[in-house]
Symmetry: C2
Subunit: 576 residues, 2 copies
């Protein structure tokens, strides 16, 4: 039995395995988390109440030898958006889970007492254990203690203080390749859904794992090869290409140049200072200090856009990605990679989403609680979370919540979720995705930056407002990529090189024994999106929520001096 669905209820002290239902057989990753959540969670359920469920699902290819396929999806009704959420992470954890034969884990039932457990899964099955011994540890310390107890080779997932607080800004941390909690399914507050289900840690042990069953090895190999060729060829993804050479943070200079790098809580879109936190600069520092770069987030990645950031004191603390650098950096008026790295580490330690946290700090700065560029003040906000103070609870509830605390109308959020590192006024296609994605403001839901700025898969003018169709197509294909277990970054190659996309389909056919073609992708993606949107609509999120915040329609952002002027009809075209 290698297609297992595991159900876990701490409240009922029960762990039960069964075959994955036939109807879910061709799903994985986001397709599977979204279908289980929309099938099983009542849309009007309170996200931290007894009827929500948290689902982990590796992608269809996760755990196979397909290149750059180490992604895991986490799904639930989100405490942040109030809708169905998928949060996606690159980590060996998901690979191990799939190799152990698990297609999904469903965590059910709210605990009545705060008595946290861990779940341990190995070749003999799953069991619950008492997590209280790690109660007072933050995540770096806890991950280390867990590895000391269970071995260096296990993979760990954990939630931190932010999740214990019930925050909408609380992610699930996963092992990076050095066993640090620096890989995050950060968005949407899913950490607190796991915590209210009574789980603080999940440990998976790959020893003697049977591996992922492949129905048609030949087709799978054919597909792999095509995709690997495309990835190796494309300028963005090839060895020594921009992602490999400088990591995701290569975008700092590029987006700054386009006037779309939000500074000072989305008050301006570029500065001379931004280059101080660029990928180019970061790579230099990592080299000086003996860190690791390039570096994969999970085994088998050929792009290797990640790295292992090194603090001034020489400690390696794990990944420091573009979104985190931007959110905790320029968006807060902080242009110092060491401070940003320290803030990033504190987020990892406390279980906070770095994007949401950066947006939140910037909002608190804008509201006057502290000054922009106040590094010490920003770090002290992390202490507030650690100490579970009222202010810490505000931080742990995210951007919109923090803005409301101060009556600030400049909250850069959609459906309650803080915006990522691209100003939708300067780059309007990504704004259409922010506005209309069922996930809330999410760049990964339909990464229009690829064509608009990187000129991959098209060359539309960033400020042209006709972006409904572009965003729609990207959202649909992304839903499929997020189901395969491939990293979204393969899209750079497969958008430009048709054989790459064929390869992905052949890999999936190989694993599932299916007979899909490239022409099926849009329908599969649309089906997932439709289920998500129907759930959201029943949860009370109407199409009126498919909008960017009012201030972005009125306040020009320098240097482009654009407002978000995509007409409502264009937004409504995305899902007509």
């Amino acid at each position: 039995m290698t297609d297992k669905l595991l159900r876990v209820s701490v409240e009922k002290d029960s762990v039960s395995e069964r075959d994955l239902p036939e109807s879910y057989r061709d799903l994985g990753g986001r397709g599977l988390t979204s279908m289980i959540v929309t099938d099983e969670v009542p849309p009007k359920a309170h996200s931290l109440g007894p009827n929500n469920k948290l689902v982990l699902a590796p992608g269809i290819l996760t755990g196979t030898s397909a290149p750059t396929s180490g992604r895991l999806s986490v799904g639930a009704k989100s405490p942040l958006t109030g809708g169905v959420k998928e949060s996606n992470v690159g980590t060996s954890f998901g690979q191990t889970l799939h190799r152990l034969g698990y297609r999904a884990i469903v965590f059910e039932d709210k605990i009545k007492e705060k008595d946290f457990k861990y779940l341990k899964i190995d070749k003999d099955g799953a069991k619950l254990g008492d997590a209280s011994k790690w109660n007072d540890m933050e995540l770096y310390e806890a991950f280390e203690a867990i590895h000391n107890e269970f071995g260096e080779d296990v993979d760990v997932c954990g939630v931190g203080v932010a999740a214990e607080l019930g925050g909408g800004n609380s992610g699930l941390a996963f092992d990076d390749l050095e066993n640090k909690p620096s890989r995050y399914a950060g968005r949407g507050g899913l950490g607190s859904v796991l915590a209210t289900r009574g789980i603080k840690f999940i440990i998976v042990d790959s020893q003697d794992a049977p591996g992922v069953e492949i129905e048609d090895e030949d087709e799978f190999q054919r597909g792999k090869e095509k995709l690997a060729n495309a990835l190796g060829e494309h300028d963005v993804t090839k060895p020594g290409g921009s992602l490999n050479a400088y990591g995701t943070d290569v975008l700092i200079n590029i987006i700054n140049e386009a006037g779309g790098l939000p500074h000072y809580n989305f008050s301006k879109g570029a500065s001379e200072m931004a280059k101080k936190v660029s990928g180019e600069r970061k790579a230099e520092i990592i080299e000086e200090r003996g860190g690791d770069r390039p570096h994969p987030c999970s085994p088998g990645c050929v792009i290797q856009c990640s790295e292992n950031w090194v603090q001034e004191d020489g400690e390696k603390v794990g990944a420091l990605e573009y979104e985190s650098v931007w959110a905790l950096g320029p968006n807060c008026g902080i242009f110092d990679l060491d401070t940003i790295g320290e803030l990033n580490k504190r987020c990892n330690d406390l279980g906070l989403d770095t994007i949401e946290t950066g947006d939140t700090i910037a909002v608190l700065m804008d509201a006057g609680l502290l000054e922009f560029s106040d590094k010490q003040g920003a770090l002290e906000l992390m202490d507030e979370v650690e100490q579970k103070t009222a202010l810490g609870r505000i931080v742990a509830n995210g951007t919109q919540y923090a803005a409301n605390a101060f009556g600030l109308n400049r909250a850069p959020t959609v459906k309650g979720q803080g915006m990522p590192a691209y100003d939708p006024r300067a780059i309007k296609g990504i704004g259409v995705t922010y506005a209309t994605s069922p996930m809330g403001a999410d760049h990964t839901a339909g990464y229009a930056i690829a064509p608009e700025i990187l000129k991959v898969g098209g060359k539309p003018d960033p400020q042209d407002t006709k972006k409904g169709e572009l965003s729609r197509n990207l959202q649909s294909s992304t839903a499929v990529i997020d189901s395969t277990g491939h990293c979204l970054f393969i899209a750079f190659a497969v958008l430009d090189i048709p054989e790459g996309l064929e390869g992905v389909v052949e890999e999936v056919n190989g694993v599932l024994g299916a007979d899909l073609s490239v022409g099926d992708i849009d329908e599969i993606g649309s089906t997932i999106l439709e289920a998500e949107r129907e759930f959201n609509q029943k949860a009370g999120i109407s199409k009126q929520e498919d909008r960017v915040p009012e201030f972005m329609e009125e306040e020009k952002v320098p240097p482009t001096n654009e407002v978000f002027d995509v007409p409502t009809e264009e937004l409504e075209k995305v899902f007509k």
Copy 2:
């Protein structure tokens, strides 16, 4: 010119009067505030952003000699519900405003700097003045200072610290007859809308006011007499009747008896302790201490259900109504009128809504921040607001916000607004009103308690779930009463005595020179409700929000051991 519309923009330093547009001529109170807000405010406007407006409108009869007609409506897009809001208050302020010839004041434009003004209106017109001299005063002190400066006879409106914080739990305080800030348009956070428009105080001076013009004095007098007779006759409203003898707080024992008086954050519906805070007990204390009771909230009221509460030290601090006693009392496990009176006074001082504050404190108790029944802890929460701490900001943002801070799913709210003093599980018609009113959880929007418990205008079983039509009819007629300027309490008499209702229509016809009949009431009410609902829908509040919170559908409330089991179809019947 006695039908004036005044527009005030502190940001533009402008005050301008013109004739009330003809299309608004037959509107007043809620009808007028809701029409102006829905006509002029973009539904997706941020409630504290530049495009929201706050409207004050006396009822059609407010300021005339019609009995019990001293109500003023305050309207805006609500920071608490995100929808259009009307909050209603009994105070001489509204009477003076109408006698000065003003049918509505519209406060526009957000201020850029926090530089608060006051608006002074007298027979010579309106002008802005610098309010900074009262900046550091709470409202009792500020109201006293204002009366010292402008005379005992002016009427004052003010907003407090809660409004300065931008809180969704911030009301507008108005003079009671002793010039204390104990009359409140409390609900929906409208105080912070006024504060962000740059206004902290409004002062109206009735000296040489021309008075309300009456088109047909004979019909007006005929109507007045019919209504006065009905009010004098009905057991609930007559002199010495239950409201007159014991005030609104007479409901404590009645609702406790019905098992519908929420205790301990809606965990149970009755207790032996409740009688310690009953109207009967309160009347004894007021008599012992030499307070005033019965007592009108505004001149010309024949019901006189209010009172002037006296502290242990002999200080008279103004009204202490049923909803406040319940919210700050049994709902928090506090059964001591002196503590409740002190909490009520602190709310008045800080500009907090007592219902929202009681719900908020109870939620914080339920979440474990403090114990239920912790009187000192509850009072200290008021200090947090005063000191503008992070915890104070949580209190100033209300029930749902406080629950989110602690990840608590037991938040008794609808559309973000905290529920009043009736458990919808034990008394289901009021639950239908809570769920479906465009105002959020609001007992006054369709007071089903009248028939369900007081057996006025019908005798339905409180636990019968077929209450859609009942709630609908009450919501529609209430929208009309709230437009006339009559207190909702006239409904007790006019629901049972048809001549009373005729009298109301004749009063209105007399003032307006109109030709309405009783048969027109439902259509007028429906028009108002429809405009409100359409605005809300465009603001993103879908019909899926017309629900009580999930925990009330699942958790039985003793002693009735009922859940809220009104079917969705019945809820959707209200506004099909």
